[in-house]
Amino acid sequence: MKPRTRRFLWIAAGAGALAAAVALMLFALRDNLVFFYTPTQIAADEVPRNKTFRLGGLVEKGSVGRDPQDNLVVIFRVTDLAKTIPVRFRGTLPDLFAEGRGIVAQGKIDSEGRFNANEVLAKHDEAYMPPEAAEALKRAGHPVGAPEQFRKPPPGTGK
């Protein structure tokens, strides 16, 4: 084989491999992007049915309860202070879940219009506002979510 032919084959193989890798990534990315919606968008029916998405907002005060039929199912409402959406989640909640705090949940809307969460995301700090929750509040006209503002100052600093 001439060196030139060989070099051409190398380049062709490289380009082919690159195209395959890019195709693989795009394919995987297309199927696994999770979009984010706010309670207001859900109320306006902007959310596709049967598609997994992320919901962000505050856990409405006094809304947390359990399903009488199945005690392991937690029921609560998520609000962006404009609209609320009922949420069901079967399993154990993360430690940082509490009424009045921001959360992000991943799941689907069921036939009765409830959000069936299969994952409630835990973050590493109780002062931390999930960006999705902050965004939902901002879009609904209640921008309280910037992490620094949400952070309580050290006790006694007078800040």
């Binding site: 990315l29 430690d95 620094e148």
Partner: protein, 674 residues
């Protein structure tokens, strides 16, 4: 007083770092021996100053000096001493100081251990490392000063309870040792570009530093995963969280770099590619550190809340990586042509390995940065789920593992087909038998399980076949002599490869055969999972130094009748009022029993609780496998030739890297570590 000493030491370190950049680089360019000689003492003084600053911050934490904002926000008078020390690097500012300390430490190590390197090269390497240091010191002093003062509060806010754990004490330092260690390879690459020369001796100098950094990073990542497994309380060990991806990106690129450096040392090829990889790897370390520590990741809004920090980050990345790439574009041609090799040679296989690893790295970068880019452009909020990464990883890494089994027995430059084919057939047959046996013992498995087991056992068999062949071919008459004939770097390579094999097997087992049970349980009741009975015996209360806890006592009866008692806790920390789940784990090499306590389902004393039971087969092998890889790295670094060969180089002298004896035209199969 102590914080002021720290502050002063930091400022002094900045001055020294500036001098450490300017004088040696200028001296090396002009061939001025006096300026070149300044590099080593400057590196040592720089390290001393940063160490004093670090000690000052640690002393502030140990002494509960709440007039320092950093201490007030991340510590508490009731926090145990060990965690007050660990809190030194628990915050953004403190972790930056740790980063800088590591950088100064690596620089100092280069200064001390590079005695056999030509002085001008050492001066350039130390100067380039100084540039990075200057950037970090400026960043710290202007945007993230760890010593900022405030009116002292009565008590601190306490360290995040999640970080109050032995794993968290060691995780950041190890991780940073790895991240920052890649700066040495980066500095060597930039020094070679400035010098306009890159020969096998250069690769031989750069290799042990890179492998050492890689080993530290491996252990650091494994420790983080181990910590997440037992501390986050839900039994997951890898979440494809952007914070984890941030450490995985430099690890993948660093793995490619190690292999590319091996080829550059042995065969003088892939020179430009090696330099690019060295720059990319350290750039990804920088990117990872900043993604995690600047708040860009947890929220893009952090840019808006503290624009100076975000802008500084981008500027530093631009200067360090952009500068290095610009230099590369300008000087790459001066590195000289490489050798040639046939399409069936170890070079080809390592090239394929590099392409695969770099592609995987790119896939992780895309999956991690794409949501950030979309958000920054105001196009909405999206996230990329774990299925993306799993979909991309398997088809890209499966061929890499096949190659890993082959490459060590394929000769450099021009390989023969038959001996390789014979070994490959033996290893493949062994893999098929072992996979069938595993599936039989486990009672079946899916297609993916079978693929994972085949890959893992293939890699194990290939390592064993490779070592046995090597021993059989050795000239020594007795077994001990043959064993001694294996070089440390060869053993290190095979041990690291074995670690990868074990990792593949362990991940396959955990993913395929883990079981879990969520249930509502009262004292006296029990649940059954994988032939084991989990019984809740009762609750007790407990008070720790800075928290109170409810302890649930479980008795687990194994299939063979053995009973183990486990205690799961629900803690409440006083200062932060944060709740924490402490899972109960019974560990063994074959399986972990994992119990996490959920929430009470009623208010009365005898109320039921929600509880999750899990059985995780062979999960500890995931972390043991990474330890094997790191041990392989350490073994490879200890190889004699890294200590002997440079001595020969020094005797020939010269202002630049002296040429090493050129490698023989064709090395026997299996020579040296790949």
């Amino acid at each position: 007083m102590i914080p002021e000493i720290g502050q002063f030491a930091l400022a002094l370190a900045l001055m020294i770092a500036v001098a450490q950049v300017a004088l040696p680089l200028w001296g090396a360019q002009r061939g001025d021996a006096a300026l070149i000689a300044f590099a080593r003492p400057a590196a040592a003084a720089h390290f001393a100053c940063v160490a004093i600053a670090f000690a000052a911050l640690m002393a502030s934490f140990v002494g509960n000096d709440f007039s320092v904002i950093n201490v007030a926000s991340n510590s508490n008078s009731k926090l145990p001493l060990a965690y007050r020390i660990a809190a030194t690097w628990g915050s953004h500012e403190g972790s930056l100081l740790l980063w800088t300390l590591m950088l100064a430490g690596w620089t100092c190590a280069v200064a001390v251990l590079s005695g056999r390197l030509p002085a001008a090269v050492t001066a350039r390497v130390i100067g380039v490392l100084g540039i990075v240091s200057v950037g970090f010191l400026l960043f710290m002093l202007f945007t993230s000063n760890p010593f900022d003062r405030t009116l002292p509060p009565l008590d601190g806010r306490d360290l995040n309870p999640l970080l109050q754990d032995p794993g968290m004490v060691a995780h950041p330092p190890l991780l940073y040792m790895g991240y920052v260690g890649f700066s040495v390879a980066f500095a060597f690459a930039v020094a070679a570009l400035i010098d306009g020369r890159l020969d096998p001796a250069w690769a031989r100098f750069a290799r042990p530093w890179t492998v050492a950094a890689w080993a530290f990073l491996s252990v650091g990542i494994a420790l983080g995963s181990f910590w997440a497994y037992y501390e986050l309380g839900w039994g997951g060990w890898w979440f494809w969280d952007p914070v984890e991806n941030a450490s995985l990106m430099p690890w993948l690129a660093g793995t490619a770099l190690i292999h590319s450096l091996a080829v550059t040392e042995k065969r003088r090829v892939f020179k430009s590619w090696t330099v690019v990889l060295a720059i990319v790897t350290f750039s990804l370390s920088l990117l990872g550190t900043f993604l995690v520590r600047s708040g860009v990741l947890t929220s893009v809004h952090a840019f808006a809340t503290d624009p100076t920090r975000g802008v500084f980050i981008l500027a530093l990345l631009m200067v360090v990586s952009g500068g290095a790439f610009a230099l590369y574009a300008w000087r790459a041609n001066s590195l000289g042509p490489g050798g040639t090799f046939s399409s069936w040679s170890r070079e080809t296989l390592l090239l394929a390995n590099n392409v695969l690893l770099v592609t995987v790295t790119a896939a992780v970068i895309i999956g991690t940065l794409y949501p950030l880019a979309i958000d920054a452009l105001g196009l909405g909020k999206i996230s990329v789920g774990p299925p993306y990464f799993e979909t991309v990883f398997l088809p890209l890494l499966a061929p890499a593992i096949l190659l890993m089994g082959l490459a060590p027995v394929v000769a450099w430059k021009q390989a023969e087909g038959r001996p390789v084919a014979r070994q490959a057939i033996i290893a493949a047959a062994a893999a098929a038998v072992l996979t069938a046996a595993t599936l039989l013992a486990a009672g079946g498995g899916s297609v993916l399980t079978t693929v994972g087991l085949l890959l893992g056992w293939w890699a194990v068999s290939a390592v064993v076949a490779g070592v046995v062949t090597r021993l059989a071919r050795a000239a020594a008459p007795d077994f001990a002599g043959r064993l001694r004939s294996l070089s440390a770097s060869y053993c290190g390579m095979q041990l690291a490869h074995l670690g990868i094999a074990v990792l593949v097997l362990a991940v396959t087992m955990v993913k395929s055969y883990s079981t879990e049970l969520d249930m509502e349980i009262r004292p006296g009741q029990s649940g059954t999972l994988s032939g084991r009975t989990f019984a809740l015996e009762g609750f007790s209360e407990k008070t720790g130094p800075n928290y109170s806890a409810i302890v649930a006592h479980f008795a687990v009866t194994e299939a063979n009748g053995r009973v183990r008692s486990l205690q799961a806790e629900k803690r409440r920390y006083f200062a932060s009022e944060q709740t924490m789940t402490e899972a109960a784990i019974d560990r063994s090499l074959t399986r972990d029993l994992y119990i996490s306590l959920g929430d009470p389902l009623g208010t009365d004393a005898g109320a039921a609780w929600s509880v999750r039971f899990q059985v995780k087969p062979f999960i500890n092998w995931i972390w043991l496998a990474v330890l094997m890889m790191a041990a392989g790295g350490v073994l490879a670094v200890s190889d004699r030739r890294y200590r002997i060969a440079p001595r020969a180089a020094r005797t020939s002298g010269g202002p630049s890297l002296s040429p090493a004896p050129s490698p023989p035209a064709a090395l026997p199969a299996g020579e040296g570590a790949a």
